[in-house]
Symmetry: C2
Subunit: 192 residues, 2 copies
């Protein structure tokens, strides 16, 4: 499970559209049955998210108005990585910009593929602790409201939205796994 494996041979790879955030590509490849086929996908260097927890146990979440879905989603701060960027640094930067809190301690929680069928993006999640209040720093096109949510309410709120945010939900699951392992008993007590 999860083992690296290269049963496909890529014959050629073409960037069809390049923009500031990702590239859209078309590969010609040989599948496991020996036949050739095309694969169209978003090429992304990755993304990184954070669960920023204040000392009183509240989580700095964000309500983001999403253009593609024409609605607000309740999310954890996540940002796209540029090629060569470090996921922890990106998670930290996004957390500061979107929530206005800077974590002084970051712990890696896990990595997942959010959209394996049409994007090669891997999303890395972190727990952010020991937060310092520094103030939001948003791009003018972002409409983001910070919501401070008690730790034991986060799961219920993420799951009770009419439409959940997949990446935030997975990040939360990795935090539950981390706390179940007994690696942060004070946080675990806040959750139960």
């Amino acid at each position: 499970m999860g083992s690296r494996h290269k049963p496909f041979t890529t014959l050629r790879s073409e960037v069809l559209v390049r923009n500031e955030w990702h590239s859209y590509c078309k590969d010609r490849y040989v599948g496991t049955d020996g036949g050739e086929a095309d694969y169209y996908y978003v090429d992304m260097p990755g993304s990184a998210g954070c669960i920023p927890v204040l000392e009183d146990g509240r989580v700095a979440m964000v309500e983001v108005t999403r253009y593609l879905l024409s609605r607000k989603l309740l999310e954890l701060p996540i940002g796209g990585m540029k090629r060569g960027e470090d996921p922890e640094a990106v998670a930290l930067k996004e957390t500061v910009e979107e929530t206005g809190y800077r974590p002084r301690r970051m712990t890696r929680l896990g990595s997942f593929a959010p959209y394996k069928g049409a994007s090669n993006e891997v999303c890395h999640f972190y727990l952010g602790e020991d937060l310092e209040r520094v103030g939001q720093d948003l791009e003018s096109t972002e409409e983001i409201a910070v919501k401070l949510v008690p730790l034991r309410e986060v799961r219920r709120l993420l799951l009770s939205s009419e439409l959940g945010d997949g990446q935030s939900l997975v990040g939360w699951l990795y935090l539950e796994k981390f706390l179940e392992s007994g690696k942060n008993e004070s946080l675990r007590r806040l959750l139960s």
Copy 2:
């Protein structure tokens, strides 16, 4: 939270690439700050997944070799919808094709946006029960192995892969939420 909201005005929308699975589009829009910007995204009619549970409490999972990630991922059956298709019908069809089991009872679990930043896809998840063994029916380009996993092992296995499958992990969370609500006590007992 999750309310519909249209703070953006789309000026024009252009399909840049169209293929069998999705379209890749570029929109010109006016943001909340009054400025114009471009949005590049994957346009998908949606997707639908299923957690197919056998009478003995094992879940029919699939190990899929993913071209874009050059590795095998442990997944729940999920398939893309074509325009006008019904999510429950697609979840059922994918489950039969990929696992070889046909659920005779489907229960809706929840919906989420797997990749809100670069795709308008909404993924719908179902619990599949009362399974009938009919045999796998794969496309020649698919390399899929069925894994029958006890219900109480699914969460741990999904989370312990080096790289998790985001959509399957979220589907699983919605099943936990459903079982916590007390709506299927026999399944809940198998989990605890």
